[in-house]
């Protein structure tokens, strides 16, 4: 495997982790808002209990993503920074509002309602902004003016593929977070919340898959290259659909205690589903980072690549014990899960 291929695979893996964590984090914010004022179910409490300690980890993965782009692909920064300045800066703005409000609320519960709305609304706006980066890389939305790249906002905002991408991003986010929170509610023995999230997962699952398929149909004409690659990769997308069917089916299996749904199996299958889909999409995106101006090969760093890899290996080596402790304390410890 070539060095640049290893680099793009690592970058893509970080993107995958961030997509999963981000879906959970932002989705939990949205569900927290939806069920915040309804005292009939405590789905909101479950969502927010997960959110409180988890946002910092999610946030760090976004930074890792940006730093990885710069270290692995320094020659991509000029083009990417020019065309992504506004969407990414708006994302930073929303992320800051969200983060600070969330922590402020934790220390001043009088402002709970403001928080619920902020983290709910940003929980939709942020992923919508982030997913809008995907169509920009497909081709047709970047123009050069005196050699400086510019994003053609009018063309982008008028193109149906942007809105299909956003719809795809949002349904996926809500599906993933509903499945995960369902499992989280089960850990906490909170069956009312469990059924609330299960109900949403049941309609969101098929909707998100259908929208994903339809989105490909709206790709701009310049993006014929990736449509061909996707068709060539059909076997991986097919496996992804099979994983989806397994996870979706798990929602209907009866448990020993007469409750429906094996939530843990559903979580694992859905992670596999998106893992397969994201890597298959990533490999269909090759060799371009941004079509047709930027390829993986020509943006790749000329620095000491093995040193970068060693740093990543050591970094994650130190972190894994931290994650295990984190997992035990917040995702497994019943004293945390079941507190009132």
């Amino acid at each position: 495997m070539e060095a640049s291929s290893i680099a793009i695979t690592i970058l893509w893996s970080i993107l995958f982790v961030y997509a999963m964590l981000g879906s959970l984090d932002f989705g939990a914010g949205f569900w927290g808002m939806v069920y915040g004022k309804n005292s009939q179910t405590n789905a909101s409490i479950i969502a927010n209990r997960f959110l409180s300690p988890a946002w910092e980890v999610t946030n760090v993965f976004m930074v890792i993503l940006v730093v990885s782009v710069i270290t692995f692909f320094p020659f991509a920064t000029t083009l990417l920074a020019s065309i992504l300045l506004v969407p990414v800066a708006l994302g930073l703005f929303l992320l800051t509002v969200r983060t600070t409000f969330m922590v402020f609320e934790h220390h001043a519960d009088r402002f709970r309602n403001v928080l619920l709305v902020t983290s709910g609304v940003t929980g939709l706006l942020l992923p919508a902004l982030l997913v809008s980066i995907l169509p920009i890389t497909l081709g047709g939305f970047v123009d050069f003016e005196n050699e400086y790249p510019r994003l053609e906002y009018n063309e982008l905002l008028a193109h149906p593929t942007l809105y299909m991408h956003v719809a795809f991003g949002l349904t996926t986010e809500l599906f993933i977070s509903a499945i995960f929170l369902m499992d989280y509610a089960k850990e906490a023995d909170n069956w009312a919340a469990y059924h609330t999230f299960r109900k949403h997962a049941i309609w969101l699952g098929p909707v998100s898959v259908i929208i994903a398929v339809l989105t490909i149909g709206t790709f701009p004409t310049e993006a014929q290259w990736i449509v061909e690659n996707i068709e060539a990769n059909w076997i991986w997308f097919g496996l992804s659909i099979i994983a989806f069917l397994i996870g979706y089916g798990a929602l209907f299996i009866k448990r020993e205690n007469e409750q429906r749904g094996i939530s843990r199996l559903a979580v694992v299958a859905i992670i596999v589903q998106y893992g397969l889909a994201i890597y298959a999409y990533g490999s269909a995106h090759l060799p371009y980072l941004v079509f047709p101006d930027l390829t993986v090969e020509e943006s790749f760093t000329n620095a000491n690549f093995s040193l970068i890899l060693v740093v990543y290996a050591i970094g994650f080596g130190i972190l894994i014990p931290g994650f295990i402790l984190f997992w035990k304390l917040f995702l497994k410890d019943r004293r945390y899960l079941k507190q009132d």
Partner: protein, 443 residues
Amino acid sequence: MDVVVMARALFGSSLGFHIIYATIGVGLPVMIIIAEILYLIKKDSDYALMARRWTKGFAIILAVSIASGTIVGVMISLLFPSFMEIVGQVIALPFQMEIFAFLIEAVFMSIYLYAADRLPPKLRLVSIFAVALGAIASAILITDVHAWMNTPSGFRITPDGSITDVDTWAAFFNPSFITSALHVVFSAFMTVAFIIGSIAALRLLKKNISKEERNYHKKALTIALYFGLITSLATAINGHETAQKLHEYNPRKLAAAEGLFETTRYAPLSIGGYASLEDQRVKYAIEIPYALSFLAADRFDTEVKGLNEWPEELWPPLYVHILFNIMVGVGSVLIVIAMFALFWKLVLKKEYPPWLLALLVTGGPLGMIGIEAGWCFSCIGRQPWTITDVLRTGEAATHSNSVGFLFVLFITLYVTLIFATAFILKFYFKRNPVSLDLAKGES
């Protein structure tokens, strides 16, 4: 306005905002560790309470620090893409290491904050140690990139602008790395110590507080004064080394800092005043003969280069002399304040009178002004370069025309957040006053 100026204004204000929170984020965990250790030694529950209350404040500050740090990290890539293109090739290592330091800090902070009551005491101390280590390591690593911008090394640039012969470790250990990193860390410790001192002094100025509460604040003030004195002295000694590094590697910056126009032996040190281009000297300053030469390289006959050695277009703005003076002035005043207050306590063995407490209240804000002035000096003093003698700021900046709109958006955000943080801190500590916590401890 010109895009380059807007990009600098946006990034500068983002960094200026972040540094307030980042400084506290570096210093406060160390204060918490000191309180936890004092609690273990003295078995005095006041110290445990201190650690707990500081942690609450820290959690609020850290949230803004993480968010603004994310802004700064991403924004620099968006606004100065050509700079990041070189950074990515030469000095990416500290950035990579920093994210892991940052992640360690974030993970253990979540653990310390949300799970402290479920952790055994030892693991709690380990967690806060990890938070402090993560924070300090982050500061050191980010300062490394900043130091490299001042004293770039570890690569060669060909006439067509491409980078060759990259030596990652030479870039990492660039000449000003160690001194700059220590300067940032020491000054953060110092500033946080004086902030804690300010808060304690402010509380002690109140007339109607109980004896227990008075004792609690006195203990906090004592920690702050000792730690403040040690760290302000460390900052000054290391600041001297930093200035000598300037003499050695960035003589143009030193000349601007000191307002020296002509290359001189036995150069005097000008304190205060402003550097006047017409008069070719610092006006209205107090001059100490030979002092600059001596400070630069420990000898009175040291030749210190003046600005006229370089064409004027390569000079930084002359007002950096004022920024430099504010930074050094604050550092010196804080040493005097801490020494004086400790003299009052240890030698005169008297209670602090209200005027002395009032003086101590100014310590925290002064420290923060010093930090801001120092960062402004270091960054503006490097102009017109982003990477000294390699990449001009005008070449590094973005050409996007959306920067003006983003500037307004983010300034609004920062102003709002400064007020919101102050409000939330006030709200929280008003609802959870020390008196209440002390009463809880006794029952």
